[in-house]
């Protein structure tokens, strides 16, 4: 077996759609663009395509790096590449920036053709279902009738699940990782704290901060800090930071004194420097709204009865954001419908973030699953 490699230099592409997209919220996008990247080659019968869906702060930049920014490595580069679990010698892998995002696809920072200024807070609410519908249109353009697999972690896993319900015949396999069939009240509570941090920032200006030449940086920082706490585990924080003090002693100050304070402030500041506040608000609402069982009176097995795909469901032992029990719910609902499903519960100390990490057992499970997917070989 060859050593895992990077897919190397990649470049994003943009696809423009002029057919209006009706959104679940009742809103409507007259036209829009999706930015995407691809890795590997589409085979002759177009049967080897794999869609990778991103989570809250992810993007279309899944793997590889840019020629002019070699340090900007894709967020799931440890998974996608030659010799990696999602092997690009076998699969044609696609990453798409979701609608409402801030990495190039049409979103709050884009220009609204109706007004000539950026959408800002007027960008319509988008849902997981809307993202999937827009991704399906991109698949149409690329000539992909059925994905060999749709893969995602966290919010990306929700998209993978939704794919199997919205387009049952267009997904052969779904890998639903560190996800949940819906958010708990506690999950929504954390999202609401994050949103309130942004919404009550004086620089938010009802979402039109761009027109005021500012960004609600304080709100974004707080949103990211509270989010980050939920991505880690108590164990991981204890191991990484413990009660370590930056000055080696208590100095009785509100400056970042404990290492964990320093870390959260750093993460918050970094995030506020590149992420759009309106995108954050929209995306957390998309998370909150996701609940495919809602229109089935909360009956998840009934909701998943449409699915035809084979499934791999993966959870992580210390993930308290989307704990293993939420994956069990998905597994049992699939079992009820006699679907093919495998489930791995990975022993990991790293909490929700585990899905992004390069754990040997985790990646071994993914390799085993992706290796068994049959696609016609390249010519």
């Amino acid at each position: 077996m060859t050593q895992p490699q990077s897919v190397g230099v990649v470049a994003p592409r943009t696809q423009r759609f002029t057919e209006p997209l009706l959104l679940k919220s009742g809103g409507r996008l007259e036209e829009y663009e999706l930015v995407y990247e691809t890795y590997g080659e589409l085979n002759a019968d177009r049967s080897n395509a794999v869609l990778v869906c991103h989570a809250l702060s992810g993007s279309h930049h899944v793997a590889g790096y840019y020629a002019d920014a070699p340090d900007n490595i894709g967020w799931w580069d440890n998974l996608v590449g030659p010799g990696k679990p999602l092997d690009t010698r076998k699969f044609f892998v696609i990453g798409v920036n979701n609608l409402g995002g801030c990495y190039g696809s049409t979103g709050p920072t884009s220009i609204d053709p109706a007004t000539g200024t950026s959408y800002g807070a007027n960008f319509p609410f988008v849902t997981v279902e809307d993202w999937v519908a827009s991704q399906a249109r991109l698949a149409d353009v690329l000539g992909i009738q059925q994905f060999a697999a749709v893969v995602g972690g966290s919010l990306g896993g929700m998209q993978a699940l939704s794919w199997t319900l919205q387009y049952p015949n267009r997904v052969a396999n779904a890998a639903v990782i560190a996800a949940a069939p819906k958010l708990s009240a506690e999950n929504i509570a954390f999202n609401e704290v994050a949103r309130q941090a942004i919404l009550t920032d004086p620089d938010y200006h009802d979402g039109d901060y761009t027109a005021h030449g500012v960004v609600p940086e304080r709100g974004l920082r707080l949103a990211r800090m509270v989010g980050h706490i939920t991505y880690l585990s108590d164990d991981a924080m204890a191991e990484k930071f413990g009660r370590s003090l930056r000055h080696g002693k208590q100095v009785f100050s509100y400056e970042a004194e404990f290492e964990i304070e320093s870390y959260l402030r750093y993460q918050g500041k970094k995030f506020a420097g590149y992420f759009d506040a309106n995108t954050y608000l929209l995306t957390t609402k998309a998370l909150d709204y996701f609940d495919p069982a809602f229109e089935y009176g909360g009956n998840l097995p009934a909701a998943l009865s449409r699915a035809q795909a084979d499934f791999l469901v993966v959870s992580f032992s210390t993930d308290w954001r989307f704990p293993p029990e939420r994956s069990h719910d998905i597994v049992q609902a699939l079992l009820h419908n006699r679907r093919s499903v495998s489930y791995a519960e990975i022993d990991s100390a790293a909490g929700h973030d585990s899905f992004l990490l390069n754990d040997a057992i985790y990646h071994g499970v993914l390799s085993a699953y992706f290796d068994r997917i049959k696609v016609t070989a390249h010519v």
């Binding site: 079992l335 006699r338 093919s340 495998s342 489930y343 791995a344 519960e345 057992i361 290796d371």
Partner: protein
């Protein structure tokens, strides 16, 4: 694929075409692979060991990573035609609990286990040592087994708990034993049900 085990064929004889099978402690998925190939069953395996989970996935088996000590909560009543547990019962603490659960989620249960009263095991004890054999390959200090029982003990347990023995086969090193199974069989294979 690993070598076909002798109990697989006997188990397969009890399972009908296209039935639904849950295999507890499915290892690398060989039994379910065999049942899928020969009986076209809809099979699910349960495994706690990560390497076995990977091996089962590679084997094309549906495998669910669940710790059996936590029971089968979440599985629906009577969902499976057969619930199989091959050579794992002796490694589970809650013996009655798991048997009850097997017969809750399945119409029938199939269990196989090493018989501690096998004559060679008796001989080992008479010679002053815990038995080590093909079916009890571990030493007393590193065995994963936590329950040490015989075919006769198991029959008694079933009787005490209203579990009906529908079929029973004893094996001695892979060959069917016709009489005195509690003495001559190294392995017991039982097909269980509930009184109706």
């Amino acid at each position: 694929m690993s070598k076909l085990r002798y109990d697989f064929q006997a188990i397969a004889e009890w399972i009908g075409e296209g039935e639904t099978v849950l295999d507890l402690g499915c290892g690398d998925g060989s039994l379910l692979r065999h049942l899928a190939d020969t009986r076209g069953v809809l099979g699910y395996g349960v495994e706690a060991d990560p390497d076995n989970v990977k091996a089962s996935i590679r084997n094309g088996i549906n495998v669910l990573q669940i710790d059996l000590e936590r029971g089968l909560a979440g599985f629906e009543d009577g969902f499976f035609d057969h619930v199989v547990m091959s050579f794992s019962l002796q490694a589970i603490h809650n013996t009655i609990g798991i048997l009850t659960e097997m017969l809750r989620v399945g119409h029938e249960a199939v269990v196989s286990f090493p018989n501690f009263a096998y004559w060679r095991h008796r001989q080992a004890i008479l010679n002053g040592h815990m038995p080590v054999s093909e079916n009890l390959p571990h030493q007393w200090y590193n065995t994963p087994n936590v329950r040490f029982f015989t075919i006769a003990d198991f029959e008694h347990l079933c009787e005490m708990n209203g579990i009906v023995i529908r079929d029973a086969i004893g094996f001695d090193e892979g060959v069917r034993v016709r009489e005195e199974p509690n003495f001559l069989a190294s392995v017991g294979l039982f097909r269980l049900g509930r009184e109706h």
